[in-house]
């Protein structure tokens, strides 16, 4: 009697460590590099990287909503704006410390997103895109409305003071704000990662891919879709609050529909189906416009448009997708070499 014994394949290792271990090392290395960064670059560059972190949080919100849950939003600039104004109003009118405004902005946007997500449940694809587009187009006008001018500063906007490092730490305001942003980014990404990893994440993705089947399996699609909208809005609001504090100014003109559109294509370029895509997208949004300007002063928009198209051509799944593909190829080659040798 021959026994068919199941043979577990030996775990694949690369120079002694598993693939997952390498991934963790990479993440750790990036975090360490991020911590060292402000001390080796100028204040201006630190400021730019703070904005990269802010954008990364905003793009993460799009990745979760559109990438993982399949709901297209062309209006996330609105939640970003609500977060920014919440922070500005709390700081200037109520003297709330800046770091407290971040969770408050998040909470308000969580509610706003959830409430917006409820009627949006009935809308699919294009129609949801239009509804969110309408929100994005309308938000500057709402912010300018003279009825709430006393709070929002109307067309003039609100100027915010930059926070300084506490406890007499030897950091200038730019560096301190960078570290605050870094901490918030790590927290937000951890929350996002946990959310997507577990049952909730699987439900969200199932709703994107096979909504009817998901419902048949007992997933409360309405609840999860609204929840995802809410969480996504929450992250966008936190990003907005942080962004407003970094720029030290909020005004209706900062939140036009172009902002919402840039979130969408930034996510797509970075890689909308992954968390790391948010970071690549944020780097793109921050630095490529400067490159475009360097190439053509007369028509920077055209050069940027060409960049968009070229990036999509070369990396249709975004930078993250491209890197994953490259990683797969490397693994395959290493496996082949192993098999041969």
């Amino acid at each position: 009697m021959t026994e068919a014994r199941a043979r577990t394949p030996a775990a694949v290792t690369y120079y002694g460590l598993s693939g997952d271990a390498w991934k963790n090392i990479a993440i750790l290395a990036v975090i360490v590099a991020a911590c060292v960064l402000p001390f080796v670059i100028s204040n201006y560059r630190t400021f730019q990287f703070t904005l990269v972190l802010v954008n990364a949080i905003a793009l993460l919100s799009i990745n979760i909503l559109t990438g993982f849950n399949g709901q297209i939003s062309l209006g996330h600039g609105a939640f970003y704006a609500i977060g920014a104004y919440t922070a500005a109003i709390l700081i200037t009118h109520f003297g709330v410390p800046y770091w407290v405004t971040l969770p408050i902005a998040g909470a308000i946007c969580l509610m706003a997103g959830f409430l917006f997500g409820l009627p949006a449940l009935r809308l699919e694809g294009l129609y949801l895109a239009l509804a969110t587009f309408a929100l994005g187009v309308a938000i500057p006008q709402i912010l300018k409305y003279k009825g709430i001018e006393d709070w929002t500063g109307g067309v003039q906007g609100i100027v915010i003071n930059k926070p300084t490092a506490p406890f007499g730490l030897k950091l200038n305001p730019d560096q301190w704000l960078y570290f605050v942003a870094l901490l918030v980014t790590i927290i937000v990404f951890t929350i996002g990662w946990n959310l997507l990893r577990g049952r909730v994440g699987r439900a969200i993705v199932a709703i994107r891919d096979q909504p009817i089947a998901a419902q048949a399996m007992g997933i409360n699609t309405a609840f999860y879709k609204s929840l995802t909208f809410g969480v996504s809005a929450m992250f966008a609001g936190i990003a907005g609050a942080l962004g407003g504090i970094a720029i030290q100014f909020v005004a209706p003109d900062s939140f036009a529909i172009t902002l919402s559109l840039s979130f969408l294509f930034g996510s797509v370029i970075g890689g909308i189906f992954s968390l790391s895509g948010a970071i690549y997208g944020a780097l793109f949004l921050q630095f490529i416009p400067h490159v475009s300007e360097g190439i053509s002063k007369a028509a920077p928009g055209a050069v940027f448009g060409v960049f968009l198209i070229v990036f999509m051509f070369i990396m249709p799944a975004g930078v993250a997708g491209f890197l994953r593909l490259a990683w797969v190829r490397i693994r395959r080659r290493m496996a082949n070499r192993r098999a041969q040798g």
Binding site: T66, I72, P119, A120, R122, L123, E124, L126, Y127, A129, L130, A131, F133, A134, L135, V137, A138, Q141, I142, K144, Y145, K146, Q210, I212, A213, L261, L264, F265, V268, I269, I272, A298, A299, P300, G301, A302, V303, F304, G305, V306, F307, L308, I309, M312, F313, P316, A317
Partner: protein, 290 residues
């Protein structure tokens, strides 16, 4: 009462503007199942081309039809060259990003070549005005041209084999290929036709709003809303949607909430309608296989 009628008439006039662009959006959607964000900029750019011809001395109608032909060719070119690589496996989002890129390129290049000073675009229609100046000859001409285009589009999709082939290619590319439809060329044709319709829209709109590179951005917002309100696949719905949006915008601005929240309220109403009737007022409820 008189004021109300005037506002409605004025709303119909602007509504005609939205309706003509909405038609182009519907054409593209029927051919490709995509909403082309760059449609407004394509229309604007075509109008500048027409302007160049007219400025060089060409008579209006010659320039008009020549521009339509060029816009057709341009649309086909964009589809074959820029979009073809994305048709096979790319996600909708990648294509939307490409549209945004196109939008930026067209807008920026138009500004670079033609600058931002206003250009006057002539109207082929008489200057006479009706209803106490609320509607002038050109706006009536705009209605006429929009309706003619609408009927042509409708007849094309409904009664010609080519129109049927295009709709089939958009709805089910694999099966269409199996019955011998050249899907790639159907898409290109759709883009070409949308480009032409857009050019017509631009040339009709420019005499009213004046020609400058940002001429179409506001129109696109409302045109998009109009097309979806009427049902994105339905040309009649799009045109009707355009008029509804135009009148709504005026009435809301004058009677309901004042101009400072006009945009907001108009959009809220549109979204509200969509929540109640998700496929638009006249759209077919899509039945998809699961």
């Amino acid at each position: 009462m008189e004021a109300l009628i005037y506002q409605i008439l004025s709303g119909l006039a602007t509504g005609g503007v939205y309706a003509s662009l909405a038609l182009a959006l519907v054409m593209i959607y029927n051919a490709t199942h995509l909403v082309n964000f760059a449609q407004g900029e394509m229309a604007m750019f075509s109008t500048y081309i027409a302007w160049t011809f007219i400025n060089a001395g060409m008579p209006y109608w010659a320039a008009f039809f020549l521009t339509i032909a060029i816009a057709f060719a341009g649309g086909v070119l964009i589809e074959r060259v820029v979009l073809r690589p994305f048709e096979q496996e790319s996600s909708v989002l990648a294509i939307v990003t490409v549209f945004i890129g196109l939008l930026l390129i067209l807008n920026s290049v138009a500004g670079w070549i033609y600058e931002y000073t206003l250009k006057v675009f002539p109207s082929p229609f008489p200057e006479t005005s009706y209803f106490g100046g609320m509607i002038n000859g050109h706006q009536l001409g705009l209605f006429g041209v929009t309706f003619v285009t609408l009927i042509l589009v409708y007849l094309f999709f409904r009664f010609t084999p080519l129109g049927l082939a295009m709709r089939a290619a958009a709805q089910n590319p694999e099966s269409s290929r199996l019955v011998g439809i050249r899907v790639g060329w159907m898409l290109a044709l759709g883009w070409g036709l949308a480009g032409s319709i857009g050019a017509v829209a631009g040339m009709m709109i420019a005499p009213i709003v004046y020609l400058d590179p940002n001429m179409m951005t506001g129109v696109l917002n409302y045109g998009f809303a109009a097309a979806l309100l009427g049902g994105i696949s339905n040309p009649w719905g799009a045109v009707l949607g355009g008029f509804i949006v135009g009148v709504l915008e005026n009435l809301v601005g004058d009677y309901v909430v004042g101009t400072e929240l006009k945009l907001t309220v108009a959009l809220v109403i549109i979204v509200g309608v969509l929540v109640l009737k998700p496929s638009g007022l006249f759209g077919k409820t899509l039945v998809t296989r699961v």
